[in-house]
């Protein structure tokens, strides 16, 4: 079997046993990328060929002296282009940062680099992670490997497409309202959003600080656990990172049953607007859980219907402030030929940001304005608390929740570009877990009649990624969706 078809775990085993070298891995992926990338457009920047081969050579040369390997050593990874990589351009999919080269590494990169992976490149995303399709990237959209006329989802669409198209073995994404889970569902791969605070945000370019969380996009649940192991831990550079112990997550992905676990089915997630094909696949999945020992229980999360409105107030308010630093003064894009300061601000931000980013900055600015704060931002925070309480109450009774990831399979490119509200609604099932800071995973659970993947979402209690991973692994092994791969047509 071609190297690029292997999962992270399989590739790791072959490398650790000495069966393959880092150099072979690098060359295999360089070839794969050269064949597939022109069609899928997963990456914004690729590590230059010579640099990648040199990094691989350094690993192969150093291996004798080190005498041990690390879980991610020589593993070919893609990094979402809103995670700062020292010396490597980090654009956030924006013209504003087209030439920005960070002088520092995000904490997750520091952790990764200690294990000497092969970083293949920086993956495409909606500008500043604002969007559900990668169509808002200043560098053009990525394509869905299952059908290139369809979106790969977003905002981590480049990462999900790259994993699905075997352009990397695993990738990092970031999730604010569904940006890891939704593209994973669209591309038929696994996407895990950890508990808020589980993974350091230091070096993740902020969209909405109280929601953003880095997580892995992988081919299997086991691979997600391997990646999560490398990401977690308290970071003194991030005040919101949790001081919590963490288990070896790969040990959670072992059992093929979920005996003694109670599976919650929130009725609000199966209401109006859910595509019948998607609904059917989720119902099938619930039956699978019952078959592997889960006790199924219907539950209700009454505040769910307010989640989208709440999210679009809080996330845009935070974004309006987080994106104020892109003013043309210090780094990044600056509009040319400005006569005075106000003009420089105005022209820089008008020309540097795309329409979706500008829309959200305006929404957020409005929500925080004098006289509107209480009615919008303060009220949204209050509703956020209600949504959290809903989950707390339900988690007294159930161990994890099952739901769809997205109301429909991946839509066609351009289909919702002119209708932002329709685009926002594609996050309706992923947003509540984001607002509550819960861990949630998306994994494939079937295909539509048109052959597009459908995703299943499992949500757990805060810091119980282990339960979410256990249930996801058991489901994955009770079905064979993980073996289905896209065929990339020219």
């Amino acid at each position: 079997m071609a190297l690029f078809k292997l999962t992270l775990k399989e590739l790791q085993e072959k490398f650790t046993s000495g069966e393959i070298t880092a150099g072979e891995i690098a060359r295999a992926y360089l070839l794969r990328i050269s064949q597939v990338e022109p069609k899928i457009k997963s990456y914004i920047s690729l590590t230059p060929r010579e640099d990648l081969l040199m990094n691989a050579q350094a690993i192969d040369d150093g291996l004798k002296a080190w005498r041990k390997t690390e879980p991610l050593m020589a593993m070919p990874l893609g990094i979402k282009d809103n995670i700062c990589t020292k010396g490597m351009r980090t654009t956030c999919g924006s013209r504003m940062l087209e030439t920005f080269v960070p002088p520092y590494d995000a904490t997750v990169m520091t952790k990764f680099n200690a294990q000497k992976p092969l970083i293949l490149g920086k993956t495409n995303l909606d500008e500043f992670a604002m969007g559900s399709s990668t169509e808002h990237s200043a560098f053009g959209p990525s394509r869905n490997p299952w059908n290139q006329q369809h979106i790969p989802g977003g905002s981590s669409g480049g990462s999900a497409a790259a994993v699905a198209a075997d352009e990397c073995v695993a990738a990092l994404g970031s999730d604010t309202g569904g940006s890891i889970r939704q593209p994973a569902a669209c591309c038929g791969v696994v996407g895990l959003k950890p508990t808020y605070g589980r993974v350091s945000r230091y070096g993740l370019v902020a969209f909405a600080s109280s929601l953003d969380q880095i997580g892995p996009i992988t081919k299997t649940v086991t691979d997600a656990a391997i990646m999560l192991n490398a990401l977690v831990g308290h970071d003194p550079l991030d005040s919101t990172s949790a001081k919590r112990d963490f288990p070896d997550f790969t040990k959670s992905a072992k059992k093929k049953d979920i005996k003694k676990l109670v599976v919650g089915v929130p009725q609000e997630y199966f209401a109006e607007g859910l595509d019948p094909e998607v609904s059917e696949k989720i119902q099938d999945a619930i039956a699978v859980f019952e078959g592997i020992g889960g006790k199924i229980q219907e539950v209700t999360l009454p505040s769910t219907e307010r989640a989208i409105a709440t999210y679009y107030l809080i996330a845009t308010a935070e974004a309006s402030s987080n994106l104020a630093r892109y003013d043309g003064v210090k780094y990044g894009f600056r509009a040319k030929e400005c006569k005075e300061l106000a003009e420089m601000y105005h022209s820089t931000r008008s020309q540097g940001f795309g329409p979706e980013v500008k829309r959200r900055i305006m929404l957020g600015t409005y929500a925080l304005s004098a006289g509107y704060y209480d009615a919008f931002y303060a009220k949204a925070q209050a509703v956020r608390t209600l949504i959290q309480r809903d989950f707390e109450a339900v988690f007294q009774e159930v161990d994890f929740l099952v739901s769809p990831v997205m109301p429909t399979p991946a839509f066609r490119l351009g289909e919702r570009l002119e209708d932002p509200l329709q685009m926002y609604l594609s996050d309706i099932y992923t947003i509540p877990a984001s607002l509550a800071g819960l861990p949630a995973i998306s994994l494939p659970c079937g295909h539509s009649s048109k052959g597009l993947p459908i995703g299943l979402q499992l949500m757990g209690r805060p810091f119980e990624e282990n339960i979410v991973l256990r249930a996801a692994f058991a489901y994955e092994h009770a079905t064979n969706w993980r073996t289905k791969r896209p065929i990339i047509r020219s």
């Binding site: 920005f100 960070p102 902020a206 600080s209 005040s239 402030s321 104020a324 210090k330």
Partner: protein
């Protein structure tokens, strides 16, 4: 018409922490532009703030000294506005949950004491500086100062004259320096004040329209700017005009204030809690612990000096004017329990030498131990007061002991009766007329004879002893 000014003051005190408020960069002054910076204080994409505990501690100690209510949780908020010296496009400050709540500071104006109510004090980060070099193209931004911790201390409109403001500012500055949280340097901008002033006809209760004053970097300018502004507003009202709510800049050259921005130009700062920082918890135990580390404030120390050491208000005032000098004084008193004598030496000889050499009491080459040694030599009669004063400069500028200097200069006082008797007899023999006068009842003449003995001994004779022995010789 007679008007009464009503004034409130905002002070921005730079806390002299080792590092900035949200990153590990040093807070040093005067270094080349943009050398004291990191991803956090440059506002690079993806960087995050981490709160400096030392700054929190300094704010709590200041709050305790200002008798402020300290709430168990306080929170940082973002103040959003665009300016080139503000790298993130927002300033991390505190809004609805400041670290220090209501309190007060006692001031004294023309010997009358008064409490100025403190509204609040909150922590925030400083901005950088825009640099406009003469002749250079465009403007530049220096972010060395960006992220330096500030404590903004706000009063109620409790001050009714520029003299009161002056007294408040000085009392607050002394307090902060005493607490060792701020160096109090107005020229360098580590203690900045922004008064707001309105006037109203005397006797009226409601407040007039207030004007905020900026660009005040000395106590003198604060007073001048307020005096100017008060009379400007009075003239305006007398002419039937109206005071506009606005911010005005003090122009030192012209000695005038001028409009900087009107109320309409005021920002909507869109404050909201900073999601990058958790609420700060301050537990009662910690407050208590910190309470123990707060030094006595200057006014309380002055009163204690008057009471415990029986010093005059004037002397106690000089001693407590600086914490270091007061500490020096008390260190001496511990070793030599004659406070009045110590006070005379410290406020006299010592202060004179310190001033002329431009040295602070803490850095004085003459440590309390060596000064006390000299005072003991005077006390025991080994050296005369006059001689001690003469040798003081040498003692101050060298590291010799008092005894060494006394010996080297041959200033040891002669108290030996045999030696003195010889001199006395010689003097009496040389001045028979005066001896006659004394014995005839003109006892005042003894002063002249003592002087002659001192002269003959080259000033080394113990005058008290000489006096006593002369009397004995003359009456025998």
């Amino acid at each position: 018409m007679t008007y009464e000014p009503v004034i409130g003051v905002e002070v921005h005190a730079q806390l002299h922490t080792q590092t900035k408020l949200f990153c590990g960069c040093p807070t040093s002054f005067g270094l080349p532009p943009n050398t004291q910076v990191c991803p956090v204080c440059l506002g690079l994409p993806g960087s995050l703030p981490v709160l400096n505990q030392q700054a929190v501690e300094m704010a709590v100690r200041t709050g305790l000294a200002l008798n402020c209510e300290l709430s168990p949780t306080n929170q940082f908020s973002r103040k959003n506005y665009f300016y080139p010296d503000l790298p993130k496009g927002y300033q991390i400050s505190q809004y609805d949950l400041p670290i220090c709540g209501p309190g007060w500071l006692e001031i004294s104006v023309n010997d009358k004491k008064k409490r100025v109510r403190i509204t609040r004090a909150h922590l925030e980060e400083d901005a950088g500086k825009n640099v406009h070099e003469e002749g250079a193209e465009g403007s530049h931004v220096d972010l060395n100062r960006a992220g330096t911790p500030l404590l903004e201390i706000v009063t109620e409109p409790d001050l009714f004259s520029s003299e009161e403001v002056d007294a408040y500012l000085k009392a607050l500055r002394d307090l902060l320096v005493y607490l060792d949280v701020c160096d109090g340097n107005m020229e360098q901008g580590s203690f900045r004040c922004e008064p707001n002033v309105s006037i109203r006809p005397k006797g009226q209760q409601t407040l007039g329209t207030k004007v905020e004053l900026k660009n005040i970097n000395s106590f003198r300018y604060a007073k001048d700017a307020l005096d100017y502004e008060i009379s400007r507003q009075a003239e305006l009202l007398d002419e039937g005009g109206k005071v506009q709510q606005e911010t005005r800049l003090w122009n030192v050259q012209l000695g005038q204030t001028a409009v900087m921005r009107s109320k309409e130009g005021a920002h909507d700062y869109r404050y909201f809690p900073d999601p990058d920082l958790l609420p700060v918890s301050i537990d009662a135990e910690w407050i208590e612990e910190l309470g123990g580390t707060i030094p006595e404030i200057p006014s309380a120390r002055l009163q204690r000096f008057v009471k415990d050491y029986q010093l005059s208000e004037y002397d106690a005032g000089i001693l407590t004017d600086s914490k270091e000098l007061a500490d020096y004084f008390e260190a001496c008193v511990k070793l030599f329990a004659h406070p009045k004598t110590v006070s005379n030496w410290v406020t006299g000889e010592l202060l004179r030498e310190l001033h002329s050499s431009g040295v602070t009491p803490e850095d004085s080459p003459l440590k309390p131990e060596r000064l006390v040694e000299l005072l003991e030599l005077v006390d025991s009669g080994t050296v005369s007061l006059k001689a001690a004063r003469e040798l003081f400069p040498e003692l101050y500028s060298t590291d010799k002991t008092a005894e060494q200097v006394v010996k080297e200069k041959g200033l040891v006082q002669v108290s030996d009766e045999g030696t003195l008797q010889t001199i006395i007899e010689e003097v009496l023999a040389a001045h028979p007329a005066q001896v006659e006068q004394y014995r005839g009842g003109k006892e005042a003449v003894i002063g002249y004879l003592v002087g002659q003995v001192m002269k003959a001994s080259k000033g080394k004779a113990n005058p008290g002893k000489v006096n006593e022995m002369l009397k004995r010789s003359l009456t025998s």
